[in-house]
Amino acid sequence: MERPEGEQRGASGSGPAGEAEAGSGPVLEEPGSGATDTTMEDCLSKKIEITVSEAEKRTGRNAMNIQETYTAYLIETRAVESQTEGQCSPPDSLWRRYSEFELLRNYLLVNYPHIVVPPLPEKRAEFVWHKLSADNMDPDFVERRRIGLENFLVRVASHPIICQDNIFYSFLTQEGGWKEMVNETGFQLKADSRLKALNATFRVKNPDKRFTELKHYSDELQSVISHLLRVRARVADRLYGVYKVHGNYGRVFSEWSAIEKEMGDGLQSAGHHMDVYAASIDDILEEEEHYADQLKEYLFYAEALRAVCRKHELMQYDLEMAVQDLASKKQQCEELATGTVRTFSLKGMTSKLFGQETPEQREGKIKVLEEQIHEGEEQLKSKNVEGREFVKSAWADIERFKEQKNHDLKEALINYAVMQISMCKKGIQVWTNAKECFSKM
């Protein structure tokens, strides 16, 4: 239900951006990109505590007046200071739906192209083992998404640069009129449609090796994590099978115990342990889903990483195009000035066919060209500066991201290992109990 609207919004977002292609103005002027150094202490997350505390199913009418069902999430914010002072002020709260989160992220993506913008949780369930429903309204899915959305907000709020964004702040604090506010920023006009064309490749002559490598890395990371998630879902499926089939022992042992004298009691209680064993897998796999969600976040992070690379590639491409353009103009100018035509061109042909231009005409043309050259040089200069700035700030954020990634994934892997350990311990416990029953037979 939620999706059509989201897509519609997405489509309208890319529309005007297409026209604005030429006007993808200097990135330097964007707010926050001025690399104002923000230490972690200044982060929004240190000042306010953000939680997505509730999810609620709602029914309403969309712009097309079509009935739709969607889930709204309650965002609560609370100033950290007031807490420490012991006055537990009631948190500010407001409702947002998934599509609004999407809008916020799109806005951040456009305005902060040099930032690895934290990803949103998946729109619909992917890589799940068969027991979990893929329904968007499924309570488990909604719950996992709620955690994911909270995680997203906390990540944005802890980011040294984007946490200072006004739109983000309003997202947390101002329920009504927020959408209009976002649209007023005209961020959609700034979006470069070329970034959206996924398969477009720009033939960059001098690619930055670091970014090429990073792009390559994010491609690989995405493929390896999605492979991992796919296999993990299958592993979970099979494990589920193994445990559940053991549950059949529970039934048979209990039926069998009815016809046995001495063995009866042992069988009966061993059967009970088999039931416990079979049931234990539900919790185990549910917990493992959390690990899958952590991996998924990095799957989407890979995409965010790639967006930064693409942006860089595009800037490099523009830069190279400008250099080329400038070079050709300079050549033209020289040709006109010296009257020699070094290369065969249409212009040369026309001049031969229709006779030489008058000196005045030539002067005028040279003048125009010189002006264009000057302009081009200026542009080139600013593009160079802009590019350098971009590389500098993007790289800073990438370094930050890498650190965060290593830390997070290690933690996720530790949790995963702990989960496995507890599963093994549970297994040992159940089988030890069962063995004791068997030994009494």
């Binding site: 099979r238 016809i259 290992a417 297994g427 040992i428 089988w431």
Partner: protein
């Protein structure tokens, strides 16, 4: 008159308690009379506890010897041990001095009490399978090794080679000559062609184990282990010669093997046998279910293994992309690899150890059902004869000896069957306890291996102190 029944090799069941008679072993033939020099003494509930040597066949007070044969005709409290010898007139107590060798026989006893409290003196093992390729056929032979202290054997040790069809012959012979007893099952003869390779190592090993179990069960049986055919099977250099000889005999004995009396319907199966029948039906049904579940689990585990084998290397691939995370990811990959190995061992163990025992017991129950059927036939025969006599009663007031013999046979059959059933129940209980505990143990071991593997990953993931 309380008639005395003659059984095979002097084994009887007490008519009062229906437990095995204690007479177990060590007797020999002298002047056409079996002389007993050992009987078992014990309490029925706890099994036979100790062996006592008797110097002469005598009366025993009922209190001390609960595993009795027949009550003393004079005092009613003791036991006379009668042994089968058709040359003796019915009911004559044997009053012979014990041979001097009795004490030495006792000394040769190997008093290694097993779980039954019975003393084992016949040890049979099946091992060393060998493949034979002839022009006509290819087959496997197994070495059958026997170690014994029994007097029936000339040597204390034998080693012969037998193939499956020899085992099959033995089983048929036992069924013919001991119709009242439960004969342990052989592993299935036929295997689906193409599905199982008859000469594969796993198949031969599984079969070897089953054949070993088969002979061990016979060797531990108080009656079957004294069977002549069994003796020949264990000792004969050339079994085939004996087989041919046996063929001729069989045609003569054919009559005694058959109990079938055409068309007579059994009036009523005694309750306890009806209960055994019902029990076996349910038991086989449940075992079948367990067998299916176990197979399904193995299948699921193998599928899980396939996925797990793909899962581990993905972490390794990922590790190749990373710097700081490379080592932990490799660690996870190796850990999953270890779990794979543990899982493989688990499912192999279950396939090799768990399933064959279930199958054996399903077959065992089937042979039990067969014996039950035979018993019903014997009873039917008796009832038919009794009815016939009742019709003629006015003419001949005395019950003919023939019918009395028939009654004896029914009682004999009942006694044997009950004893075997109880024996079987005991074995079953032990075997399943062992089997299920084994299953639990294998699973515990599996989890312990995985646990160790995962615990070894944790240190790789924790931040090293210097980086903190």
């Amino acid at each position: 008159m309380n008639s005395v029944l003659f059984g095979r090799n002097g084994f009887r069941v007490c008519k009062v308690c229906w437990k095995w008679c204690g007479l177990r072993r060590s007797f020999k033939k002298e002047k056409g009379v079996y002389i007993v020099d050992q009987i078992w003494k014990g309490v029925p509930e706890k099994g036979i506890k100790e062996a006592v040597s008797v110097t002469r066949l005598d009366c025993f007070p009922a209190k001390t010897l609960l595993y009795c044969n027949y009550f003393c005709l004079k005092c009613g409290g003791g036991v006379f041990v009668f042994l089968q010898d058709l040359s003796l007139p019915n009911g004559t107590p044997v009053d012979t001095s014990s041979p001097a060798s009795s004490s030495s026989l006792l000394n040769r006893l190997q008093l290694d009490d097993d779980l039954d409290g019975e003393t084992r003196d016949l040890f049979v093992t099946v091992d060393d399978p060998k493949k034979h390729v002839c022009t006509m056929e290819t087959y496997i032979t197994y070495r059958v090794t026997t170690k014994t202290t029994r007097a029936e054997f000339d040597l204390p040790e034998y080693s012969v080679r037998r193939r499956y069809q020899d085992f099959d012959w033995l089983r048929n012979k036992l069924e013919e000559s001991q119709p009242t007893h439960l004969i342990p099952p052989l592993p299935e003869k036929f295997v689906m062609k193409g599905v199982v390779d008859r000469f594969s190592e796993e198949f031969v090993e599984t079969r070897r184990k089953a054949l070993d179990k088969f002979l061990k069960r016979i060797a531990d049986h108080p009656v079957l282990s004294f069977n002549e055919h069994f003796n020949v099977f264990l000792t004969a250099k050339d079994l085939n010669a004996y087989k041919k000889q046996g063929m001729a005999l069989l045609s003569k004995m054919g009559e005694s093997v058959k109990y079938v009396t055409g068309g007579y319907k059994l009036r009523s199966r005694p309750l306890e046998f009806a209960a055994i029948g019902d029990y076996l039906d349910t038991f086989v049904l449940k075992l079948g279910t367990i067998d299916r579940i176990a197979q399904r689990i193995i299948k699921e585990e193998l599928e899980y293994l396939v996925e797990l084998r793909e899962y581990g290397p993905v972490y390794s691939t990922w590790g190749g992309l990373e710097g700081e995370l490379a080592e932990p990811l490799e660690g996870v990959s190796a850990c999953i690899g270890n779990c794979c190995t543990a899982l493989e061992e688990l499912s192999d163990d279950m396939t090799e150890d768990f399933l064959p025992v279930l199958r054996e017991y399903i077959l065992y129950s089937e042979s039990m059902k067969n014996v039950l059927k035979k018993r019903d036939q014997v009873q039917a025969e008796y009832e038919a004869k009794l009815e016939a006599v009742a019709l003629k009663k006015e003419e001949r007031p005395k019950v003919p000896v023939e019918v009395e013999k028939c009654q004896d046979r029914v009682e004999c059959f009942n006694a044997d069957l009950k004893a075997d059933m109880e024996r079987w129940q005991n074995n079953k209980r032990q075997d399943f306890r062992q089997l299920l505990m084994g299953m639990a143990d294998k699973n515990i071991q599996y989890y312990e291996k995985c646990l160790t593997a995962w615990e070894s990953v944790i240190p790789l993931l924790q931040d090293k102190p210097e980086t903190k």
